[in-house]
């Protein structure tokens, strides 16, 4: 290819504006978006309404669909779903369990609203058989917004032939959402199974794709992991997404000391 002379400013402007022409809009785009938004919102509301959380003093031990309430006002203050729902319990252990359950409810609500990319509440898997516990612990290492295969988990826990057992262990995950069993797919990329239906699995993956990981604040110039407690009061129009801590630094932002985004 022959070398051209350096383009003058005018020519460069012309090339650039030609290159950045608007594209035609696909037909029915608005309608598709409204439909997707409505489904997404309904799913997340359903989860928030129909799941309840139980914790021990060591961490969250159960996130489960509640049995349909016989009537409102009955079942001992559990009517709030993952909303604030104090559960009467005696003693200091009970108090710390309640605190952890409340924290889990708050974090899960934020996660479902696309405002949180990590859970900081501890999980208590101590009551589970060893194999299942190892499967679930490995599952917790899959980064937010990504997916791994059943085979990958089996290999990581040193039981490469136990792929099917991994599937079963995940299917009985007592702490769904927080232990992200929805991030485990078949090796061919298809969804595999999910205790609450494949539609929900797909929407959770889509929710995570739509939730950013790192967010900076325009006024403080601090970059946080999305969901960091220190960033909760950030005004929505002050939020700027960054691709990495390094890029945030080039824009003059420093990493938060609370959520430590560089370690994420």
């Amino acid at each position: 290819m022959t070398a051209r002379p350096r383009p003058d400013d005018l020519r460069l402007e012309e090339w650039l504006s030609g290159y950045f022409r608007p594209e035609p809009i696909p037909a029915g785009l608005a309608r598709r978006i409204v439909r997707a938004a409505t489904t997404m919102e309904e799913t997340m509301k359903t989860i928030a309404r129909t799941f309840s959380i139980q914790a021990t003093r060591n961490g969250v031990a159960l996130v489960a669909r509640r049995r349909p309430a016989p009537s409102t006002g009955g079942a001992g203050g559990r009517a709030g779903g993952i909303g604030p729902a104090p559960e009467g319990r005696a003693g200091r252990a009970g108090a710390s369990a309640d605190r952890l359950a409340a924290q889990a409810r708050r974090e899960l609500r934020e996660y479902l609203n696309g405002e949180r990319s990590f859970f900081s509440v501890p999980v208590d898997l101590s009551a589970l058989p060893e194999f299942q516990r190892r499967v679930l612990e490995e599952t917790m290492r899959i980064p937010f917004g990504e997916a791994r295969s059943y085979t990958w988990i089996a290999r990581r826990i040193g039981r490469p032939r136990a792929v099917r057992a991994v599937g079963t262990a995940l299917g009985r995950n007592p702490v769904p959402f927080i232990v992200p069993c929805h991030r485990v797919l078949r090796s061919d990329g298809s969804l595999g199974g999910y205790a609450f239906g494949l539609g929900m699995k797909r929407r959770l993956l889509e929710l995570e794709r739509a939730t950013p990981l790192l967010e900076g604040c325009r006024s403080t110039h601090i970059v946080c992991r999305v969901g960091c407690g220190a960033a909760q009061r950030m005004r929505s129009d002050h939020r700027v997404v960054f691709g990495s801590v390094a890029e945030a630094r080039t824009a003059g932002y420093r990493p938060c000391r609370v959520c430590r985004p560089a370690a994420a």
Partner: protein, 180 residues
């Protein structure tokens, strides 16, 4: 008159017609931004869809002191940056590039010659990402330095210096025939 702000007020109340008008007004430019940043048409449509979905669900968070376009572009850039982060480990748009090369060979691209189009694309790859985002927004919709600063949460001076740097890289890459 359906100004942008009037439409946004209606979108807060989930007015689908108003939302469709906004999509029609900005969809083409948003697609151009996403396409230039992400490379492939499918990824661009995904990103625009996700950005508009956030606009629809998060309309209540819109503040009137923002121009609607600035607000939309900010959401879109946020989505695109996050998408680029996700695929950093994967191989980058080589497939899209092949398609573009084929299109160039078929003589598509009427307002600038197709070869120049491909060259611009290659040259842009040498521009660091934050600066490339600014160039893209600047040329797709002629956004001002102030708007660009707002969208990326940086100072106007940083915008100016990043754009100047990008132009100088582009001028060098498009003229020298280096690295072909």
């Amino acid at each position: 008159m359906n100004t942008d702000r009037t439409l946004m007020r209606q979108v807060v109340h989930r007015d689908e017609r108003a939302f469709a008008l906004l999509v029609e007004r900005y969809g083409g430019r948003m697609l151009a931004v996403a396409r230039r940043l992400l490379g492939s048409q499918a990824d661009a449509e995904d990103a625009v869809q996700r950005a508009f979905l956030r606009c629809y669900l998060g309309a209540a968070g819109y503040r009137v002191e923002w121009a609607v376009s600035t607000w939309l572009y900010r959401i879109l850039t946020n989505v695109c940056i996050d998408e680029m982060r996700r695929r950093r480990s994967r191989s980058t748009g080589s497939e899209a590039l092949t398609r573009e090369t084929a299109a160039a060979a078929n003589g598509r691209g009427d307002s600038i010659d197709a070869v120049a189009r491909l060259d611009v694309r290659r040259a842009l790859r040498r521009v660091p990402r934050e600066a490339r985002i600014l160039v893209t927004l600047r040329y797709v919709d002629g956004l001002s330095y102030g708007e660009l600063a707002r969208i990326r949460g940086i100072s106007v001076n940083t915008v100016k210096s990043q754009l100047a740097r990008a132009r100088s890289i582009l001028r060098g890459a498009l003229g020298g025939g280096k690295g072909r």
